[in-house]
């Protein structure tokens, strides 16, 4: 499988086989990501990390991934220190950055920005989030986490909880899970339920998602994927408090959970998961965060053509 020079813009650009290959390569990277093995796989390569928007996990894990593999990183974490403040276009910024590096990782607040950057750049572009658009590396690390924790992606009942309407990353995840024929349950307040098009797309792919509006009974769930319900979606703060409160995952929510059920969250969390859950065997979100490193190592090595 040849990934050399490919852009990673959307999960939909990849086949199931390609996704599995990325996850397999990521698996091999785990000991290096953990610091148990040293590697110089990407020695002499430079990654430009262009973050036009705040990020903790995506940026740090990409930089850690590159450095763990012996590569170098240049870039910025806030556009305030660059010529963007002078009105330079993204297209020009990309053309400038690519002349200094071998691969570009970017996060930008506008949808479609990564797709556009890929048109201008000759080096591979990896999308670290484009506004409310795609976040393919998050999707891949989520799949990696499910496979690692549960043994496989298929055969699990995965519940996506929270704001399913606006979160495009959840839409991508639903698409990817449908690709693997995982059973899905969409749990959200009616006003934030999964858009019709996404549900239809899942059905076309042979998966019939179940819709629920509460987390009262999760006894049939294998993977509980929690997302943040954003305050700004509610005109009335009272209403927000009520809704957000009723989807909060706490010890009580987990009382009937399957022994091996895992709770995932892309983080940052605000109040969606009680800190008391952190110490339970169900909490997989910090391991999920770590998994960002081997998955991003795999992607960097693949698009740079160092690994086939």
């Amino acid at each position: 499988m040849n990934f050399k020079g490919r852009d990673i813009v959307s999960i939909k650009d990849f086949t199931k086989e390609e996704i599995l290959h990325i996850l397999d390569v990521a698996e091999e990277m785990v000991p290096i990501a953990e610091g148990k093995e040293k590697s110089n796989l990407l020695h002499g390569y430079i990654m430009a990390s262009l973050f036009f928007e705040p990020s903790t996990r995506t940026r740090l894990s990409f930089e850690a991934a590159m450095k763990r593999l012996g590569g170098n990183v240049i870039g910025f974490a806030q556009p305030g220190t660059t010529s963007i403040m002078k009105g330079e276009s993204l297209a020009d910024t990309i053309r400038t950055a690519e002349s200094y590096c071998d691969v570009i990782v970017m996060r930008h607040p506008m949808e479609g920005s990564a797709r556009m950057a890929a048109e201008f750049a000759n080096v591979p572009i990896i999308n670290g989030g484009d506004g409310a658009g795609h976040h393919p590396t998050q999707c891949l690390l989520d799949l990696f986490t499910i496979r690692k924790e549960m043994g496989s992606i298929e055969g699990n009942k995965v519940a996506l909880v929270g704001d399913l309407k606006y979160g495009r990353t959840v839409h991508s995840l639903a698409y990817a899970l449908a690709l693997f024929k995982a059973d899905m349950v969409f749990i959200a307040p009616p006003q934030l339920q999964m858009p019709k098009e996404v549900v239809e797309e899942c059905k076309k792919m042979g998966v019939e998602p179940e819709m629920r509006d509460n987390v009262d009974d999760i006894s049939d769930i294998d993977v509980l994927y929690v997302t943040r319900i954003q305050k700004e979606r509610f005109p009335d703060p009272e209403e927000y408090n009520k809704v957000a409160g009723s989807y909060r995952i706490d010890i009580d929510t987990l009382k009937n959970a399957k022994e091996k059920m895992i709770v995932m969250h892309p983080l940052p969390r605000v109040n969606e998961i009680s800190p008391a859950v952190d110490s339970t065997k169900h909490a997989a979100y910090f391991r999920q965060t770590f998994n960002g490193v081997p998955v991003r190592m795999a992607l960097l090595s693949l698009v740079l053509g160092v690994v086939d």
Binding site: L90, M110, S113, E119, A132
Partner: protein, 152 residues
């Protein structure tokens, strides 16, 4: 024959069966501003055999099929007639191209194509019947009933 309110032309192009009310937008898409030498006649809301329609006649200029296909987005039933010496020598329907570039803007205000980047708007045709398009950049699908308001 009451159908045609405008004179036949000797040489040029007649775009017939334009969706009523959209003749001016058709001209805009074709980049015809009236500054050209050609005589341009526009008839709007003409009652034809199949109901109302708009007609545009451009004298002494033969439009290329590819050029005219751009109007398929707003006038899917339009026909192009090439006239030479008062005779129709070529007649064909517009066909929707695979991609629509630089004609409509993306309805998503946060789409990169609505910023000051050096790119043209670009839509991929995802379905022809019914016509559906998707922004190449942000993947938003505009409401085709409101497509008029998105023409650049």
């Amino acid at each position: 024959m009451k159908e045609l309110k405008v004179q036949p032309i000797k040489d040029g192009t007649v775009i017939d069966h334009i969706t009523p009310g959209r003749a001016l937008k058709v001209l805009k898409i074709l980049g015809i501003e009236g500054k050209e030498d050609s005589i341009i006649s526009i008839a709007m809301n003409v009652v034809g055999k199949r109901g109302k329609k708009d007609i545009v006649k451009i004298e002494n200029r033969e439009l290329e099929a590819k050029e005219v296909d751009k109007i398929a987005l707003i006038a899917p039933n339009a026909t192009i007639n090439i006239i030479r010496n008062y005779e129709v020598v070529e007649k064909h329907r517009v066909s929707i191209p695979d991609e629509i570039i630089g004609i409509v803007k993306c309805p998503n205000p946060n789409c990169i194509s609505n910023s000051n980047e050096p790119i043209e708007t670009r839509f991929v045709v995802t379905s022809r019947k019914p016509l559906k398009i998707k922004c190449y950049y942000c993947e938003r699908e505009p409401d085709m009933e409101k497509i008029d308001s998105l023409i650049i």
